[in-house]
């Protein structure tokens, strides 16, 4: 045992000794450089981007379109690392930092938001404060609270917005001519159509956001909830929420004996006509599911008259990334009008831009104007008319735990 510890210590000190110097790990130095200097430093290098890898459309957009731009214009090699769950990349960074790997980590960029961002920011695991270096940062409206806050956590220059998403419902027009258009209507509709609705059990991301819509409804509107966590207020609203959801339970799919454990399970139930309603935080997914043959072509989608919850997703550079210059170039490319337009095309991905389209060139604006929405995807402008903010993560955790204790049990 002693010998083993010795060997480990020896090997450890060897690993910590300055080996091949990581090229652009020094983030502070980059902040004082001009953009041209950053690009020069990044040229010929590589960047390892960790992101959820479960969609061939997104993978193709990232590897072929974005990777192509990086290679052709900057001679940077983009290495896309597919994840099943974003927390896996956060854990790699966490493990490295705990082991003293401060400037030659494996992760140069992560597609992130919400809880994972909070972990990275609170743990000082993010490279922050470089926004002014990026020329395309001018296209981002940081005055918009939905951009400047990530699930109630101020961004503070620690991540760059990539796309916006807003919750919407999907249904099959051939099967369900009149879907419920508000949470109030939904509650009545479930009673009239037993077995036709269910939702994934929190802490599933989408199941959790559905429960929050009911929570907002029970509170009589979100405005009172936009405060730091308040136990008395929570208790009052939560009691009403669990009442509604428990009353609903016997009319859910399989009499509420069980809930789907993931949003994908709900997608499968909807695809197989077992339930009549589907929902997702990313409405572009409805169109992709139709294109990929998962949903029938008669699928349509809509937002609620009392509003649906929206969020922004971002890209973050870990503090121990050895290729920060290349990661900055990648972020700048992602923010460009051309890349945001390409991403918004329904045949590519169909997700909403995180930049202000009217700040882009006339040519890009025209391209955005010419986008034909996938017929199954609700118009973003339509959705945006009634957008609701996300709560502080303390609220979200309380609602998730409360659901498990009072409804899921």
């Amino acid at each position: 045992m002693k010998l083993l510890a010795k060997i480990a210590a020896l090997a450890g000190s060897a690993a910590l000794a300055p080996m091949a110097m990581a090229d652009t790990a020094d983030g502070e130095a980059l902040k004082s450089m001009s953009w041209d200097e950053v690009v020069e430093m990044a040229r010929g290098g590589e960047v390892n981007w960790f992101l959820w890898g479960g969609s061939d459309n997104i993978n193709r957009y990232v590897t072929e379109f974005i990777g192509g731009i990086l290679k052709d214009e900057y001679d940077i090699t983009l290495n896309r690392v597919g994840l099943t769950d974003t927390v896996e990349a956060v854990n790699i960074v966490l493990g490295e930092l705990e082991s003293g790997v401060t400037d030659e980590g494996s992760v140069d960029m992560i597609w992130i938001n919400g809880e994972n961002f909070r972990t990275m920011k609170q743990g000082n695991m993010a490279y922050c404060g470089y926004m002014d270096v990026l020329p395309n940062n001018a296209l981002v409206n940081w005055d918009n609270p939905a951009i400047a806050n990530d699930f109630g956590v101020p961004v503070d220059g620690c991540e760059v917005p990539w796309s916006k998403a807003q919750f919407a419902f999907a249904y099959d027009t051939a099967r369900t001519p009149n879907p419920p258009k508000s949470i109030g209507e939904l509650i009545a509709w479930v009673k009239e159509n037993p077995g036709a609705f269910t939702y994934p059990a929190p802490p599933d991301f989408n199941g959790s956001v559905f429960v929050r819509h009911v929570f907002y409804h029970a509170a009589g509107g979100v405005d009172r909830l936009l405060v730091p966590f308040d136990q008395a207020l929570y208790d009052e609203v939560a009691a009403k929420t669990w009442q509604i959801l428990n009353d609903m339970e016997s009319d859910l799919w399989r009499e509420g004996a069980t809930y789907p454990t993931s949003i994908n399970a709900l997608a499968e139930l909807f695809a197989n006509s077992e339930v009549d309603l589907y929902f997702n935080y990313e409405p572009a997914g409805f169109g992709l599911n139709v294109e990929n043959g998962i949903f029938p072509p008669t699928t349509s989608s809509y937002g609620l008259t009392d509003g649906t919850i929206g969020n922004t997703n971002y890209t973050i550079i870990p503090i121990n990334s050895p290729h920060k210059a290349a990661a900055l170039v990648l972020q700048n490319v992602l923010l460009s009008g051309e890349a945001q337009y390409h991403k918004a095309r329904p045949d590519v991905w169909g997700t909403k831009p995180a930049i202000e389209v009217d700040r882009t060139s006339a040519e890009i604006q025209e391209k955005f104007g010419s986008i034909e929405r996938h017929p199954s995807v609700v118009a973003p402008a339509e959705l945006a008319k009634a957008a609701l903010p996300e709560l502080h993560s303390a609220w979200i955790t309380a609602v998730e735990e409360g659901w498990i204790a009072n409804v899921g049990q």
């Binding site: 480990a8 690993a15 061939d56 193709r60 790699i92 082991s99 494996s106 994908n264 695809a271």
Partner: protein, 274 residues
Amino acid sequence: MRGRESMFTRGFRALTGAVLITWLVLPLIPLGIWSFARGWYFPDLLPRNWSLRAWEYTLSDTAGVIECLWLTIGISLAATFLSIIVGVPAGRALGLYRFRGKELVELMILAPTIVPGIAVVLGIHSVFIALGLNNTVGGVIIVHLIPTLPYMVLVMSGIFANYDPSYEAQARSLGASALETFWYITVPAIMPGVIVGGLFAFLVSWSQYILTLLIGGGKVVTLPLLLFNFATSNRNDITGAIGMIYILPGILILLMTARHLSGRSSAVGGFGTI
């Protein structure tokens, strides 16, 4: 009487064989169909629309499946080889000898099959970083030994428990060298166990996800990493296509070693063949 009995055993064997094949093959049929389907909805027995899209993506450079296939085969073969090198002497010690603390050693070797990997993987990660083994193919091969060794050692200690070392002594007394004894006496006797244990080791290494992701740090991408991305995101078509490629080596190895897996094999029954 003997004839009837053997007929019964033969019948039973055929039946279990048929059940096993059904279990192994039937679940693969929908997977195969899915890989060519463009949507497949509930009451339809077969998909209405067929498409090569999933295969087109799977075989594209973007997906990187083929590149991963060779790397995964290499890693799993290397992990299997190292498992045999470590597992045979360990199995011999555990199967043949009694010594102080044997139960503790057995428990330690079995621990990786009892303790959930997710609970220890972060600790393993920092150890591998300290050793400078993270983000390397070698590191991934070594970390795969943690889940593969219990199977290898367990099978080998079963083999050696029923192994009579006096055959080795006989060979030595007849003038064979230590190497000749090992090659002509020990190896043939333990071969069935090496094959079965090696098969387990290969398949366990073949299916590692979280250990590969963390220790490989995204630099070492194996097939399960790509497969699970799609399997967890409801893409039955691409999961089917990658899955078809994913099961190939397993089936090949199973076919090659099938006769050692039958009831006649000493590795399964635990009886020496000498």
